[in-house]
């Protein structure tokens, strides 16, 4: 089963590799991982998406908590939360497909960031499922390049995830 975990970790060199190294050393898989500093610059926040049965997820949570660099973590999957991913898409367009791509961009509330005679660069933010649907809907235009931010997650609880 897919699990989303939010992690606050010390914003220091090597902290990311401690998390990534833990996953490879213990043969856990990482579906996506994104990390950036928070309002408190001494802390980074990571959203990590992984897969495993309950036993594996329990071990992953315990092992992450054991890392000295991890300040706090929260498993988002069991609680009400939102998840978003940003995708940049470069699509090759021509006179036959240009209007179709523009229409799909409107329908999916994506936006075209850059236009050249032969290509669009499009930004799309949403749930992972929606961004995949959007990519599929662009055909017959040819998608030549994609970059995904990985999932970002936040619980809907009024209580914030904080380092203290």
């Amino acid at each position: 089963m897919r699990h989303v975990i939010s992690i606050l970790l010390e914003n220091e060199s090597g902290a990311l590799s401690r998390v990534a190294g833990l996953f490879s050393a213990r043969a856990y898989n990482i579906e996506s991982l994104s990390v950036a500093p928070t309002v408190d610059p001494s802390v980074s926040r990571m959203t990590l998406v992984t897969r495993g049965d309950d036993h594996i997820i329990e071990q992953i949570i315990k092992q992450l908590n054991k890392l000295v660099s991890v300040v706090k973590l929260q498993e988002l999957t069991p609680v009400e939360h939102i998840e978003r991913e940003m995708v940049l898409i470069k699509a090759e367009v021509n006179d036959k497909t240009r209007d179709h791509v523009r229409m799909m961009t409107d329908i999916f509330k994506a936006s075209i960031l850059s236009v050249s005679p032969t290509h669009f660069v499009i930004e799309m933010t949403g749930e992972r499922r929606k961004s995949q649907e959007f990519i599929d809907a662009l055909a017959p235009a040819v998608v030549v390049e994609i970059v995904r931010s990985g999932s970002q997650g936040m619980s809907l609880s009024d209580k914030p995830l904080r380092s203290n």
């Binding site: 090597g14 590799s17 190294g21 092992q63 908590n65 000295v68 991890v70």
Partner: protein, 564 residues
């Protein structure tokens, strides 16, 4: 007052109460070695290889319940230390290991003797640090000792660039350390402790299964009190031996792959397993699918990730063994709890039936030296009171089976990583911690050659270790597996050439003895242990094809033992 990084290193170690420092110099740590030269509060022990330095620090820590401290240079110094660091990580040994690093401006340039020490040691340390600013050095050392010695202990590496060790700053050693990201829990949850006591009072086929956590937490007294009070049987892991006296009638000795028949059968048939400071290692459980099918499991461990990792636990208690056992005893007192002998009378009857198998009995016809016999005699001659270190293999299992440890911290071996070469340097650390005590290193002719160079260190520091070499000419445990599972194809497990160990010991300035007659074993041991001031290296020529029994083959269940 402003001090250099090297002086801060010394002053910080003094603040931590460090008296022994195991190490080997090199380019990146020359400023630090210069500072070591100019003081005499801390004795530096010069090993002959960085692996030996770290194992010695481990032996010191394991016997002494104090953190072991080592220092090595950058590059090969650090990589040679990795085996010892990984060993300490697996066995939860509190160590602080300092590594030199190339100057900051050269880091990442493939400089001479540069490796990414923090990267290499990340997966085999509890935590590690690169000191990027001289202002951080003292507080980093404080944190390192705190992390290494609290919670589940383990090794911490501090990588110090050469230029940092020569920079100056005001020396302030923090009195306390507080880390928002590291807060080990000590006390167990009171509700779980009550549940554990309920389960213990209701059990009819209970067994204690205790491990290295008892030793690390210095909880042998509490454990002994609890075991005696309940009247339950107890079995101990390789790392836990001596936490409860093995000569006590309640002790079923060691469990696991080479554990006793009664210990493994009692685990298999029990209705309550009380696991204390043990971690359900694969060498203990055998096939986890067949492990303790009818038992409820209580598990006391300081490391939450050890709980329900390999085996599902019913009553988890996260906490340090000592306070948790004290809380269990207090709960028993509060309830005026008694454990009627009648509750477990049938259970003991069954166990005593299993005991009749006498699984550690061995043929001892006298025409050849049996390794088990040497260890029985070693126990007799040292009155069971020696510190015994070992290397890894058959001799290690025989020592665990036949020495009968009655006290904690007396059995010092490499359990988790299984590091050949551990025994001799570990014995140096033990002997330095306890100069007046008897220290024996039980080893094999394969293991001893892996850190044989440390015989020179033993000479330099006059360490009167007694090396008990069980020389069967084979890498015995490899050969045993090849006999059992590879149809006797002894691939590369036999040494066609071995040194003359007597001459070898003598060349290092020690006393060497070769014993190849059964009838000489006892007198040789007596003579060796009478030589209080000498390292005596005893080369016992033992039965070449003796096997370690009982044995649970890999993948087998607890009750599927090969007995002879």
């Amino acid at each position: 007052m402003e001090l250099t990084g090297a002086q801060i290193f010394i002053e910080s170690l003094k603040k931590e109460g460090v008296t022994h420092l195991f190490g080997y110099p090199g380019g990146a740590v020359l400023y630090i070695y210069d500072a070591i030269y100019q003081q005499d509060a801390i004795q530096h022990i010069l090993a002959r290889h960085e692996q030996g330095a770290v194992h010695a620090a481990e032996g010191y820590a394991k016997a002494n319940n104090k953190p072991g401290v080592a220092i090595v240079t950058s590059g090969p110094g650090a990589t040679n230390a990795v085996t010892g660091i990984a060993d300490a990580y697996m066995d939860s040994v509190p160590l602080v290991v300092f590594t030199g690093q190339v100057p900051r401006e050269l880091i990442g340039n493939d400089a001479f003797q540069e490796v990414d020490t923090v990267g290499i040691t990340r997966p085999c340390t509890k935590h590690n640090f690169l000191v990027e600013n001289i202002e951080d050095l003292a507080s980093t050392i404080k944190k390192a000792f705190y992390i290494a010695t609290t919670g589940r202990p383990g090794p911490v590496v501090i990588d110090i660039p050469k230029d940092v060790s020569n920079e100056k700053t005001e020396f302030v050693y923090p009195e306390t350390v507080k880390m928002r990201s590291y807060k080990p829990s000590i006390k167990g949850n009171p509700r779980q402790i009550k549940s554990a006591v309920d389960a213990m009072l209701a059990a009819r086929k209970p067994i204690f299964y205790t491990g290295g956590g008892v030793i690390l937490s210095q909880a042998a007294d509490e454990l002994t009190e609890l075991v005696r009070r309940t009247g339950f049987p107890i079995t101990q892991t390789l790392m836990g031996l001596g936490g409860f006296p093995m000569s006590d009638p309640q002790s079923l000795a060691m469990l696991g792959m080479h554990g006793t028949y009664e210990a493994n059968m009692a685990m298999h048939k029990s209705d309550l397993v009380i696991a204390i400071g043990s971690r359900f290692d694969d060498r203990v459980t055998g096939n986890v699918e067949k492990f303790c099918p009818d038992a409820k499991i209580i598990h006391v461990d300081i490391d939450p990730s050890s709980i329900s990792k390999n085996v599902k636990v019913d009553v988890p208690i996260v906490g340090q063994v000592k306070p948790v056992l004290a809380a269990i005893l207090a709960e028993l007192d509060q309830r005026d709890a008694i454990f009627p002998a009648g509750n477990i009378e049938n259970w003991w009857k069954q166990i005593n039936e299993w005991r009749k198998t006498d699984c550690l009995n061995f043929d001892n016809p006298g025409d050849v030296i049996k390794p088990q016999y040497v260890l029985q005699k070693l126990h007799e001659i040292t009155a069971g009171d020696a510190y015994v270190t070992s290397d890894v293999g058959q001799h290690q299992m025989w020592a665990a089976q036949y020495y009968n440890f009655d006290k904690p911290n007396r059995w010092i071996n490499s359990g988790g990583l299984g590091t050949m070469g551990f025994g001799l340097p570990a014995a140096m650390g033990v002997q330095l911690a306890y100069p007046e005590s008897t220290v024996a290193c039980v080893t094999g002719e394969a293991s001893i050659q892996m850190c044989i160079q440390e015989l020179a260190t033993c000479k330099q520091y006059k360490l009167p270790i007694k090396v008990v070499l069980l020389n069967n000419g084979y890498m015995g445990m490899v050969r045993q597996w090849q006999e059992f599972f590879y149809e006797g194809r002894y691939s590369m497990s036999y040494f066609d050439s071995l040194p003359d160990f007597v001459m070898l010991a003598e060349s290092f300035g020690h006393v060497g003895m070769m014993i190849d007659q059964h009838t000489d074993v006892e007198s040789a041991l007596k003579e060796a242990f009478d030589r209080k001031d000498d390292l005596v290296f005893m080369d016992f020529r033992t039965d070449p094809e003796e096997n370690v029994y009982p044995m649970i083959p890999a993948g087998g269940g607890q009750s599927e033992m090969i007995l002879v």
